[in-house]
């Protein structure tokens, strides 16, 4: 088995008395696009900062590209490309100058590749950074993250603040540039629909812990929704893997994880007229995990 690109074990972090990360465990396979999703304020950026060695965790371990985040910070930073949410750069610098300036930090900066990227991303080299549009700003940040051809790219909500067209444009570039180069992409976002089409793997972070992680396709297959008319004596509390129960007029909607034939048979016994089974999209899966009603029939 190959070594994961990123491996996090039991990561804890606190801002004063506020516990932000409460034991995050994560493995990001090499060459994958990994979607890291969670609501605002759940600890996504904190996890990323810790991965980059920008802050020291209370406890836990974080290995990025085979290097320890806390003791081999410089090695990690040489090998990764990072783009922060709403990335700000020196506004007074011209695009060409900031590329040169950032290139100075990397011994392996690929000037030819960065020039190609600038062309692909249609970046004007003689314009000051503060004069760039939001979309151009994101493109520049992407170029600065990729110019040294990193093994791992970490994107922290990179499309924050972009309009829908700019967002699609940006994502298209990300897919074009990264998917073919076997680069590991760690993509953090709270916009699930932008992750869904590209992510091979998903991890859902809620309240400082990973509540679900796995391949995107497997999640879609194993988490199913059943719509049925329940028998008067139906006891949904007996079902162990209910993620969400919703009451829809006379019917009930059940979101079930790790769904197999035995569970389906059990659900059938609780229904008065059979059931209707559908797949969930990522948005619905996320909703079921994060704010789902787990088996409280009265609430349903």
């Amino acid at each position: 088995m190959t070594e994961p690109a990123i491996k996090i074990e039991g990561l804890h972090f606190s801002y004063g008395k506020k516990h932000v990360l409460k034991g995050v465990d994560l493995e990001v396979p090499k060459g994958s696009i990994f979607g890291f999703i969670g609501r605002n304020g759940t600890g996504k950026t904190t996890t990323i900062k810790t991965m980059l060695g920008l802050q020291k965790p209370s406890s836990g371990k974080c290995i990025v590209g085979g290097f320890d985040s806390f003791t081999q910070t410089l090695e990690i930073r040489k090998r990764i490309g990072f783009m922060a949410e709403d990335q700000q750069m020196y506004g007074w610098m011209k695009v060409g100058r900031i590329i040169k300036w950032v290139a100075g930090f990397y011994p392996d900066w690929d000037y030819k590749f960065s020039a190609e990227l600038a062309e692909i991303l249609r970046l004007p080299m003689n314009v000051k950074v503060k004069a760039l549009s939001k979309g151009q700003n994101s493109s520049l940040a992407l170029l600065l993250a990729l110019g040294h051809r990193p093994d791992i790219v970490i994107l922290d909500d990179p499309t924050l603040g972009l309009d829908p067209i700019a967002r699609k444009d940006f994502l298209r570039h990300v897919i074009d540039l990264l998917q073919s180069n076997s680069v590991t992409v760690f993509f953090s976002s709270h916009l699930l629909y932008e992750i869904e089409p590209v992510a091979d793997y998903i991890a859902i972070l809620d309240n400082g812990v990973i509540i679900k992680a796995g391949k995107t396709e497997e999640l879609r297959e194993k988490i199913r929704r059943f719509i049925l008319k329940p028998k008067p004596d139906a006891d949904f509390g007996r079902l162990a893997s209910v993620l969400d129960i919703l009451k829809l007029a006379d019917n009930i909607s059940l979101a079930i994880e790790d769904c197999d034939e035995s569970k389906k048979a059990e659900i059938k016994t609780m229904s008065s007229n059979g059931y209707q089974e559908t797949a969930l999209n990522l948005d619905e899966i996320f909703e079921a995990y994060v704010i789902g009603n787990r088996g409280d029939l009265h609430r349903a």
């Binding site: 900062k49 980059l52 920008l54 802050q55 020291k56 410089l74 930073r77 040489k78 990072f82 922060a84 709403d86 990335q87 700000q88 750069m89 020196y90 007074w92 610098m93 040169k100 300036w101 950032v102 100075g104 930090f105 990397y106």
Partner: protein, 614 residues
């Protein structure tokens, strides 16, 4: 990491701030030069350059804040920190690039000054302030740099940096810390402690900035909080100041009636104190009262008259205003040296004539207090002591029943057991060595010449020798020597500096050997007082230091350190005389004088009874 790229970015980033500071620092010298040019004095500048340089520490702080502010915004901070840059190297580069730039800017007025060609006219004291300002600029720069790395807000970091700079410079002089003594010992000189403090603080601020950046220390502040902190600091400073002012309790302050005006001096007469030569000061229940000196009207002394042949001479007496008094039974006697001199006129070609006093006769006189008068009753001719007819140094001390009368380098020892019949015991001419000045050398043992007087106790001889060496006049009633538990120490106060204790380590037939034991630096407030250095004396284990309007009392016996016990200050007053009473309280003769105009005299005189602290 390519260093030149970082330096380029750094300079580009704060070039406008540098130009603004350059404009600010050059505006005064250029204006002065232009005004001079307009007035026909040529394009030259002078004093305004120094004013600009005095302001340079403030500008250096601004440059420091501007230097890092561009990188300290939270999101920019993550941008460059996420790059593979050695944080300490990067911050060090930024620090030194900014420091060099600010020092270059500080130098611009000097270059302008040199080019204007009148630097030679400036005196060396002012020139000394230039490197001091440069060091102060380095300190404010470093503190503001460190603060901005921590606080990440230009204005707040500058405010805090400047407050810290002020605090660092003032605090050591408010608190009587002995670190300055330590620093002086390390660097073998007491005048460079300011530069040492500034360099140490600068280095500490720089190291702090490195760690703050490395470990991402961030102090979140708000303006209200900072103002509270600033207010708190000012409050602490004021408290520290106030603890030093007027903490000696005044038991009574008595305005002296006009009829008592005259000689506002206090003289010791045994266990009593005499005020204005004719009244005992009685203290009862912390109240001052006066009583006449009793004398038997029938016991009228026969006054001696001026020796024959001296009618034409001018006279001068010592101790003059203060009296050296001896109590024998119910009678009071005092002693003084009376010298007779003629005045010679020296004509000088093309210059006004000079007067020179030629001393030809000197007498030691005793006086007896009889019917409200001090009547001269006996005298001994000590004219032989005037070996060179000058009267430059003179001293008198009563030790038990013996008087040592010193004129220049000669002395006479006189038996004063019966003041009405003085007896010469010994005379030694030109045996006293030239007194040595204030001790600069703080580490080595040094020696003081032992006065070759025989027939008095060795401790008294040592005491006399030390007092004579450092005080000369005034030793009739005061001493700087403390003898306690067979240990002999003496104390010196220097202008602007400190009070030092020297221990006597030994003696032989010619010298007393001494060594610096400890020093207690003056605080900033005491510095201000010590400009008018007055009296320093030791009595009953306490050191008294008085200047124009201040009295400081120190404990010199409990522990090795000199510990301050009390501070008394009265603005617009001047201390005329001090007496430490038998009950340990202190009596001051003071004059209040706010006579700003010559036509409106508003002088008042007071006797002030103070509770001796400690």
């Amino acid at each position: 990491m390519k260093i030149q790229g970082i330096i380029h970015q750094q300079i580009c980033q704060f070039k406008w701030h540098l130009l603004a500071c350059f404009g600010l620092i050059m505006v005064l010298p250029i204006e002065e030069a232009l005004v001079n040019f307009k007035d026909g004095l040529g394009f030259r500048c002078g004093s305004m350059v120094l004013v600009s340089i005095m302001f340079s520490p403030l500008l250096a702080g601004l440059i420091a804040c501007a230097n890092v502010q561009g990188d300290m915004d939270q999101k920019l901070y993550i941008f460059w920190r996420s790059k593979p840059a050695g944080i300490k190297l990067l911050v060090s580069l930024k620090f030194f690039v900014g420091l060099t730039a600010s020092l270059i800017i500080m130098t611009c007025p000097l270059i302008f000054w040199l080019l204007s060609g009148n630097i030679i006219d400036t005196n060396s004291d002012i020139l000394y302030s230039i490197p001091l300002s440069a060091l102060l600029s380095i300190m404010t720069y470093s503190l503001c740099f460190g603060c901005n790395v921590l606080i990440r807000s230009t204005a707040r970091a500058w405010l805090v940096g400047m407050l810290l700079a002020g605090f660092c410079l003032i605090l050591p002089f408010i608190l009587p810390l002995n670190y300055r003594d330590f620093v002086s010992d390390v660097i073998f000189g007491s005048r460079v402690y300011y530069p040492v403090i500034m360099l140490i603080i600068s280095a500490a601020a720089f190291v702090f900035a490195l760690f703050a950046a490395q470990y991402d220390w961030h102090l979140k502040t708000n303006l209200k909080g900072l103002l509270w902190v600033a207010g708190g600091l000012v409050f602490v400073l004021l408290m520290l100041f106030s603890s030093q002012v007027a903490n000696i309790k005044v038991l009574q302050e008595l305005e002296i009636e006009p009829f008592m005006l005259g000689r506002n001096d206090l003289d010791y007469a045994g266990d009593k104190v005499i005020f204005q030569e004719h009244n005992y000061v009685d203290i009862d229940n912390n109240k001052i009262s006066f009583s006449n000196i009793d004398s038997n009207p029938d016991d009228i002394a026969v006054p001696i008259t001026r020796p024959e042949g001296l009618e034409e001479y001018h006279t001068r007496d010592y101790p003059g205003r203060d009296k050296l008094i001896k109590v024998v039974g119910d009678n009071l006697y005092s002693f003084s040296i009376l010298a007779y001199f003629s005045r010679e006129r020296i004509d000088r070609e093309g210059k006004p004539p000079l007067n020179r006093d030629i001393y030809e006769h000197a007498y030691l006189r005793s006086y007896k207090y009889t019917v409200n008068r001090w009547i001269p009753i006996c005298e001994i001719d000590i004219s032989e002591c005037l070996t060179d007819h000058s009267y430059s140094q003179i001293a008198l001390r009563l030790i038990d029943n013996k008087i040592i009368a010193i004129i220049n380098n000669s002395f006479v020892l006189i038996d004063a057991t019966n003041p009405e019949e003085l007896k010469r015991l010994d005379t030694k001419l030109d045996v006293l060595k030239r007194p040595m000045g204030y001790i600069q050398e703080r580490r080595k043992e040094f020696s003081i010449p032992l006065v070759p007087v025989e027939g008095i106790d060795i401790e008294d001889r040592i005491k006399l020798s030390i007092d004579l060496n450092y005080q000369y006049e005034g030793i009739d009633e005061r001493s700087i020597v403390d003898i306690h538990d067979e240990k002999i120490s003496f104390f010196l106060a220097s202008y602007y500096d400190d009070i030092r204790r020297f221990d006597v380590t030994g003696w032989d037939s010619e010298n007393i050997y001494c060594k610096l034991s400890t020093a207690r630096p003056f605080t900033i407030l005491e510095h201000m007082s010590s400009v008018y250095l007055g009296r320093v004396f030791v009595k009953n284990g306490k050191l008294y230091f008085s200047s124009k309007n201040t009295l400081l009392v120190f404990d010199i016996r409990s522990g090795d350190k000199i510990r301050k016990l009390g501070h008394f200050i009265r603005m617009d007053y001047s201390i005329q005389d001090i007496a430490v009473l038998d009950d340990d309280n202190i009596l001051l003769c003071m004059r209040w004088d706010r006579n700003l105009s010559n036509y409106d005299s508003s002088e008042k005189n007071f006797l002030c009874l103070l509770k001796n602290p400690g």
